[in-house]
Assembly symmetry: C2
Homo-oligomer: 338 residues x 2
């Protein structure tokens, strides 16, 4: 029975989340029952949605239970199996949570899927070829439903979702414009991810001036917008949306810490006859196979080379998570274990 | 050539609109050309969308041109015709504008449609069996797409659009809840229009307390919302929307005078995975015949008895229009001429 370190949610944040909301504990992994699989985690996924689940309030999903292991996506290797479909050495993606090992029972609803790591580095199954990639795909294909010649914009463009959005948009021949924070991220978005333009929102103090910059980056206006951020950025984009534009509302990280993130010009949704839709990709499992196939091709062929921020060791997870909420990560934030 | 009084847009409002933005002029109606029809207006329609068009800013439609007759819906009687499809005495609905007579050329794109006034009073073709009625129909049927058992809510419930929305919702067996200003309007919405409940927003000082009142009126939450108002009312409704709810965004009268009407809790559109769509009914002409048939049946059968606020005489139009923007009307606002 290997020793297992775990990070629990110890208390719910009052306002901004902090390291004191988490607690590190250790225990032995239990003996496997029939049908169960023991997975040694190689990488943990850190994702903005986790912040919402730390609150007790009504959110997308059930709140993360207090005193239990922080839930989240993981990739790893099977080290022991009492399930005929898995054997030691299999590389797998699952929802193992913030811990070094997990015991999964696939017949009892535990999510575990074997993945091919010959063409795709395993950590990308937490990012570009995983939940964030499918999230970008769903917003672009199912909500924005972009037409040839359209201009599409994504906020947090250097992140896991934003970079996948750009790759998918460019592979469809669309004009892709990113919004990101700082010259380094914007340079990466343009030069490495291949977006047509990137606007550094940190250079603008209000929605009006940011909107002017967007006008230059989007000379034909904006037909589709993928929102990860909310607040001032969303106001600025609304000012540039074309009539009948579509907005995929995926995240509003600006308001996650309980800070108000009001929308100053909601009437633009009316005057521009916009369609806006909030969504969570885990509620649309039917699209995953199609989306993952396309994303796997883009990454496997080298057309899309996603960037990662890698924290090392389970103990580093809380700091890395809190940093990501402040935009300190650069690309998909993961934690490398072992 | 009858003498024709007209009201022109004389200047664009800076902030709140006022009577000084309008100017009354008189002229003779011109002699008819081939194919033209002279219509004597019996009623003018006053509608909130006109306020948006008084601004020069980008809005739904082209701005109302300065120095020209205020555009708007009219019903009237043909007094002279050089068009084979119309003859003196025909009752017609059109877009004659704020004047006593209009010359229409149906072959040159002039809108003119004969209407049956045996079962339906002619003024209702400006309201329940006209543009406002079709607006309500489009929002309920095409955007909210309500399912059996759903609760649907409409703001400005005693108005032309709101009352039609309620009648259409009740005829489908839905739970219909109105939001209106003052006990008299709320009593009318409940007792005469047959809504299941009505909340008087004027009794609540903030979105939180209004939301509490909505909770009582909507014990199963809100599945569909038809928005005419914006601002605090919209925030309060967002707090009560069920997951996967739909919002038809038709008007945001709270912001029409250039006052800010921010949305404080836009993140609720994400956490509740809402769909929101702004629309203008004149861009969906394909649904008009079906919608008008249903609305005509409801009014003709007496199941829906729409209420009107009637101002008398062309000169009364500006005051009546400004009053309507402040909610002083009760039901569809029209101006009776002649």
């Amino acid at each position: 029975m290997p020793n297992n370190k775990q990070i629990l949610l110890d208390s719910r944040p009052q306002g901004e989340a902090s390291v004191s909301n988490f607690r590190l504990v250790a225990s032995e992994t239990p003996a496997l029952g029939d049908g169960q699989v023991l997975v040694k985690h190689l990488f943990l996924s850190l994702d903005p949605y986790m912040r919402g689940r730390m609150n007790d309030a009504k959110s997308y999903a059930q709140p993360q239970p207090l005193g239990q292991v922080m839930q989240g996506g993981t990739v790893g290797e099977v080290v022991e199996s009492r399930n005929a479909n898995f054997q030691a050495g299999d590389k797998v993606v699952g929802m193992g949570g913030w811990q070094e090992y997990s015991v999964v029972d696939p017949q009892q609803g535990g999510m575990l899927r074997k993945v091919d790591t010959t063409h795709i580095p395993i950590s990308h199954y937490l990012g570009a070829v995983g939940m964030p990639g499918v999230t970008a795909w769903y917003g672009l294909v199912k909500i924005i439903d972009a037409k040839p010649g359209n201009t599409v914009v994504v906020s947090a463009a250097s992140g896991a979702v934003g970079s996948a959005f750009g790759a998918l948009a460019k592979s469809r021949g669309l004009r892709a414009v990113g919004i990101a924070g700082g010259p380094e991220k914007c340079g990466y978005v343009k030069d490495e991810l291949g977006f047509d333009a990137c606007v550094d929102y940190k250079q603008y103090k209000d929605a009006g001036s940011l909107s002017q910059a967007l006008k230059e980056a989007c000379p034909d206006g904006i037909d589709g917008y993928f929102e990860n951020v909310g607040g001032m950025v969303m106001d600025a984009v609304l000012m540039r949306m074309n009539a009948f534009g579509r907005i995929a509302l995926c995240g509003m990280i600006a308001g996650y810490d309980g800070k108000p993130a009001p929308l100053s010009y909601p009437q633009l949704m009316l005057t521009n006859r916009l369609k806006l839709e909030g969504f969570i990709v885990s509620e649309h499992m039917d699209v995953w196979p199609q989306a993952l196939q396309e994303l796997g091709m883009l990454v496997g062929s080298g057309k899309f080379r996603p960037r990662e921020s890698v924290a090392v060791g389970l103990e580093a997870a809380p700091e890395a998570f809190l940093g990501m909420l402040k935009g300190k990560n650069f690309g998909k934030q993961v934690v490398k274990l072992g």
